[in-house]
């Protein structure tokens, strides 16, 4: 019971503030997939920083159950009731969320698509990274370091998620480029640390020699590293997302590299586009961030606490543009 009161105590003032805030400036509703994956935190912080710099207000909507499709749909319906100025949208599932996007369109609320490219609906713009080339580049970097030969395993993410499909496709294509590299197994770790660790442990039982590990995200990569350490075995490991712990692991030489998905910048640009559109300023139609492989040589800029980072200027952002805006009204 105490907890109840405590919760409400923290919740209601916050709520009242946020409703009050609706009065002045634009309110941007930012949808992300879950509260648990650090990646989406970087997106959220990016959005916050950008909005602050432009004097707008951000409200975050996150399913209470991680990646819950029905819940994000409900949240969209609820948000439409509140009519925010604009929406920055990371679909929990790029196909299943299309009806939600269409509802947003029907409600005439401008919306920017971030991270996962929605399979349908009208958007001001798409801001994301190309998972495929990200996977490809990072994998290449690993395989080159391995001298183009050896045994590797893949730790897949959540089956059916767009990010996972493309990243793993990238991994496999990279492996095909090196004929002396042997793919021993490709098992699912569902982007989970513990599963990454346990799957790796089990794989090590059946495969005495593993030289490289390609993990579809950093959490699994770190998990795999722990597994290797536990068994006193060495292998080069790569992850994806360029999260803080990945950067630390790179510093300490445990992790070879992490493909930078750069959620922070995605959050920034997504929000900037939304706000600029509201203010009838020029926007871009699509920004697909170039893949950067964070490694021992270039990790410095990523080794900064999130909220201390700064968004790119609009000019820099516009320079990354890969498409001009598709007119929506």
């Amino acid at each position: 019971m105490l907890k109840l009161t405590k919760m409400l105590a923290t919740a209601l003032p916050a709520a009242l503030l946020s409703t009050a805030a609706l009065a002045d400036g634009e309110t941007i509703a930012v949808f992300t997939k879950n509260q648990t994956n650090p990646y989406f935190q970087t997106v959220r912080v990016g959005a916050d920083v950008a909005a602050k710099s432009l004097g707008a207000k951000v409200v975050h909507y996150i399913p209470t159950k991680p990646d819950s499709i029905p819940e994000q749909l409900s949240q969209i319906e609820d948000v439409i009731v509140k009519k925010p100025s604009a929406i920055v949208f990371v679909p929990v599932d790029y196909k299943a969320m299309v009806p939600g996007v269409e509802q947003i369109n029907d409600a005439k609320i401008p919306v920017v698509n971030v991270t996962d490219r929605s399979a349908g609906g009208k958007f001001l713009a798409f801001v994301g990274a190309d998972d495929y080339s990200l996977g490809l580049e990072t994998a290449r970097y690993l395989l080159k370091t391995m001298g183009g030969k050896g045994n590797v395993v893949i730790l897949e993410g959540v089956k059916g998620s767009l990010t996972n499909i493309d990243r793993v496709r990238g991994f496999n294509d990279a492996i095909k480029e090196f004929k002396d590299v042997k793919l021993l197994a490709s098992q699912p770790g569902n982007y989970q640390r513990l599963q990454g660790l346990q799957v790796m442990e089990n794989l090590m039982q059946s495969h005495p020699q593993i030289d490289g590990v390609l993990a579809a995200n950093d959490a699994m990569a770190i998990g795999a590293i722990e597994a290797l350490d536990g068994a006193n075995r060495k292998a080069q490991v790569i992850g994806i997302n360029g999260t803080k712990e990945a950067v630390d692991a790179i510093k300490s030489g445990k992790l070879l590299a992490s493909g930078d998905y750069n959620g922070f910048v995605q959050g920034c640009i997504g929000t900037m586009v939304a706000i600029r559109a509201l203010r009838n300023e020029a926007i871009v139609g699509e920004v697909v961030l170039k893949p950067t492989v964070v490694n021992a040589s270039n990790y410095k800029p990523y080794d900064v606490p999130l909220d201390a980072r700064t968004c790119p200027t609009w000019e820099e952002a516009a320079a990354m543009a890969t498409k001009t805006p598709t007119k929506t009204n």
Binding site: Q41, R193, Q205, A219, G223, A231
Partner: protein, 324 residues
């Protein structure tokens, strides 16, 4: 008069020798699994893999062993997984802040235990059905943890501390020693202490237990506190193994933990079950997972296989029960 002959309303708790028979039936299930796996892949029956399985089973066992006591009283604790999450995050924070693993460990255990006591109070004093009380607690804990962690992770702990999870002693992983320790302690507590006996009595008939002068409320609070504390233990080993803490660790462990207890032959109606049975249950579940990885079973099939094996194991147990 059980004209209906409804077995599901808790088969009679059988005395030791027959309890042994029960264990044999459960061990048989585990044995079958091992044999099948060793035939299927030669990677299975190796010292390394056995130790590997044992270590993976330990986490589940820590969680399930505490849960066993709760289920013995006819209750249920759905909050253990969420409890791990919170305890781990708090412990991690303390370790980072103070640099002292001891303090951190204490924090983890205390946090876990505190949550358990809350559950106990809700069940014993507020008379909320344990299923709901702990289900509500699960959400509350997730809420607090997410709010507190804000999607961040805390990682990088002192090597000394890491030993708890990833260290070896005489070639055997530390967690395995811990598991054996808690297995013995738990069995002794349940079978060889007055409190343990009273817990069985409460599960068998709470009303009679109260009218026999057993302080039912206090014992209930005790078992939920234990369950919470074991979640604390699990969270510490978890941290030490994964070297990092997130909000959602352990989320996926609640149902497997319950499954382990039930496969171990406990009855949700209370008064029936044993810590050793739970150990076997945890072992079976882990073996299934390990086997599926070794055989590189397609991810899609893994839940299906697990489900079928859970049902089969329990059915085998029921058959054994009806036999004796």
């Amino acid at each position: 008069m059980s004209v209906a002959g409804d077995i599901s309303t808790g088969a009679p708790r059988l005395h030791l020798s027959q309890d042994m028979q029960q264990l044999l039936y459960r061990l048989l299930a585990a044995g079958l699994l091992c044999v099948a796996l060793s035939i299927a892949t030669d990677a299975f029956f190796t010292t390394n893999n056995i130790l590997n399985v044992l270590r993976q089973a330990s986490l589940l066992f820590f969680l399930a062993s505490g849960l066993t006591l709760v289920i013995l009283t006819g209750g249920l604790d759905l909050s253990v997984g969420a409890n791990i999450g919170l305890s781990a995050c708090l412990a991690a924070t303390v370790i980072k802040a103070t640099g002292s693993p001891v303090l951190g460990t204490l924090t983890g255990l205390t946090a876990g235990c505190a949550v358990g006591i809350c559950n106990g109070l809700m069940v014993a004093k507020l008379r909320i059905p344990s299923f709901i009380a702990t289900y509500g607690m699960l959400w509350v804990l997730h809420g607090i943890t997410y709010y507190y962690m804000a999607g961040e992770t805390i990682h990088g702990f002192p090597p000394g501390f890491r030993q708890i999870g990833s260290g070896y002693f005489l070639g055997i992983p530390i967690p395995v020693y811990l598991m054996v320790g808690f297995l013995v302690a738990g069995t002794l507590f349940a079978q060889r202490t007055v409190w343990g006996q009273q817990i069985y009595a409460i599960g068998a008939n709470p009303v009679a237990a109260r009218l026999t002068g057993i302080p039912v409320d206090r014992r209930l609070i005790l078992v939920y506190a234990f369950s919470g504390a074991m979640a604390g233990v699990a969270s510490i080993v978890f941290l030490a193994r994964l070297n990092s803490a997130e909000g959602d660790i352990g989320e996926a462990m609640t149902l497997p933990a319950i499954a382990a207890v039930l496969i171990g032959g406990a009855s949700l109606f209370g008064g029936v079950g044993s810590v050793f049975g739970t150990f076997v249950g945890a072992l079976i579940l882990t073996l299934v997972l390990n086997g599926m990885n070794l055989l590189a079973v397609n991810a899609s099939w893994q839940p299906l296989v697990t489900g079928v094996i859970v049902i089969f194991a329990v059915w085998l147990d029921m058959v054994g029960r009806r036999r004796s």
